[in-house]
Symmetry: C2
Subunit: 343 residues, 2 copies
């Protein structure tokens, strides 16, 4: 991702919400990364304490956290996202230090942001910023999250291209009044698959650090690219119904699922160990149900022999961000423990 | 639940996996509760440190945790669940202190346990126990979790009654060889709705401490009975599509959902505050989507006026156990903070 950013002359501001770890964050420094994205004020506080001094909080400002934001902005560079007049007025009134502000643009995900065609609204907000010394307009930020709802990589390219056009039109409209403005985009599917970033100044992907089954299903990564797994002990085996029970449930994996090739919900893929080797079983072996701490594996009859009480198997998670968030620490393949925030 | 247990002459061993809190655990002591159920060895360790000395770990033993189990069993009464010969042999070999063992019986949930009709298998396991001084056979334990998959309270009664018959047959078969054996059952739907516990000696419900939307949908509790909510700030409002964005996503509520009356996924119900009063909005106002930290509320046009940026609203969770597990602390309505394990 560093290479891709560099080839396309993009500022790289990776999202750290996937790993939430100071140590993993430090690995990015080796590649020259100096600025990051986070999804909450608390996460900004954690990474600020751990040496990061240029942070975009990519979540619509929660104006109830202005005290914490003021504290952060007193010591490091903070960028905020706004999309409403109410928020701008609250910020203008209560901010005690300068912050960068991005207008959040909705490119079609319909989650948050100003619809990409509403130039007049954007203009009125930019004018509002100029009333306050503490609000430094930085540019326009979008997250084309609807790439996660696609079935083909063609659709990902199509959503991405559509977002590029929309963001470029905004840039052209406003670069006269603000020549330094930045266009920042974000999602891992587009950033991974596309080589076209015309008009974009900054990318903020996050999930690519681990990837997961959801990204694999979208055609964004190979299974080998997935860098995080959940190690689970086998606690019971039920050959009569081709099932294995693991200690690994909704409080470890989350309840995120994708639809498997058999049309059923799938909560994870299975890797077993055999004679010191790790073998990925095909998708007819999978995590088929989760309760609080139990995971149920559907296993093909011929593969049941690989599962014995007391074995440790590995589950490839559907959504690595949520699994990491639940587990709150990692173990490397060398046995080193890596902590996260709130760990 | 204490009253129901007492009326039916049942030992009450509540499950603490829902609240996971020493302080909330202490409230049970006021009602004379002395024995509890937990879902992991770590949870047993936490409650042992917090003064509980009679704990059933209601999860098939993970034989990789025998060191911790030995440590626990050295100082308090521990009961374990077994359902396979492999586990019994591993326990017999490595346990250094006496533990109580329950045979886990499957009454039709098909998650874990010995099928309820396999008397010969049960007999062979009970004989195995007698080879080891450390394994003290306590009785039979079941969790009729398929009551959670029902659509009518009639079905809950039916599954419960079916489980009673099965457990009673097992009890009759084995009480000659073991007159002190206990039959322990568990699920909140049956324990809440039924008044028939013939043949049962102990109940272990857990979720009833808070209840949630899932229990409400099953007809197990009223909305007023639900004792835990997630307080969420409003961060954006999109009247053009009747949506409100809250700071409250999958890392707070979990991705558990139920199907709403409009046929869509529902991740929570909404309570707003109006002139100091808390008002529950009807089910056409609800949490319709979650990403990592964002929650999207579908709100009826007439109710949009209740939502403003900076407001705090309350979300009734679909599954209180998972929401509590993610949040890791509570605030009482008096503003007191209550901590949980790993908090």
């Amino acid at each position: 991702m560093v290479e891709k950013a560099s080839q396309n002359k993009l500022h790289f501001r990776p999202h750290f919400k996937t790993h939430q770890s100071a140590k993993i964050g430090n690995w990015f420094k080796i590649y020259g990364v100096e600025a990051i994205t986070v999804s909450s004020v608390r996460m900004a506080e954690y990474f600020a304490v751990n040496g990061w001094s240029d942070i975009t909080i990519a979540f619509p400002v929660n104006i109830l956290e202005l005290e914490n934001i003021n504290r952060l902005a007193a010591s490091i560079k903070i960028n905020l996202l706004v999309e409403s007049k109410e928020t701008i007025l609250a910020l203008g009134k209560k901010l005690t230090n300068k912050v960068g502000v991005f207008l959040k643009i909705d490119t079609g995900y319909y989650r948050t942001g100003i619809p990409s065609g509403r130039f007049n609204l954007m203009e009125s907000y930019i004018e509002l910023f100029s009333n306050y010394e503490t609000l430094v307009f930085k540019g326009f930020l979008s997250h084309t999250g609807h790439t996660y709802k696609t079935n083909t990589s063609y659709e990902i390219h199509s959503h991405h291209f559509d977002a590029l056009l929309k963001m470029k039109a905004i840039k052209q409209r406003f670069k006269k009044v603000c020549p330094t403005l930045i266009v920042s985009i974000g999602d891992t599917p587009s950033c991974t698959l596309s080589d076209n970033f015309r008009g974009v100044d900054e990318i903020r992907p996050g999930n690519f650090v681990f990837y997961d089954l959801m990204q694999h299903k979208l055609g964004v990564c190979s299974l080998d690219d997935i860098a995080v797994k959940l190690a689970c002990p086998v606690v019971a085996k039920h050959p009569s119904r081709n099932e294995v029970v693991i200690y690994g449930g909704a409080i470890h994996l989350s309840k995120e699922y994708i639809t498997n090739i058999d049309g059923k919900k799938m909560f994870g893929r299975i890797i077993i160990r055999q004679n010191g080797e790790r073998i990925l079983l095909d998708e007819l072996n999978y995590v088929s149900a989760l309760s609080q701490e139990h995971g149920i594996l559907k296993v093909m009859r011929k593969d049941l022999k690989y599962f014995n009480v007391g074995d440790i198997i590995e589950i490839i998670p559907v959504h690595s961000c949520l699994t990491a968030n639940l587990m709150r620490k990692y173990m490397t393949t060398d046995g080193e423990e890596i902590t996260m925030m709130n760990c």
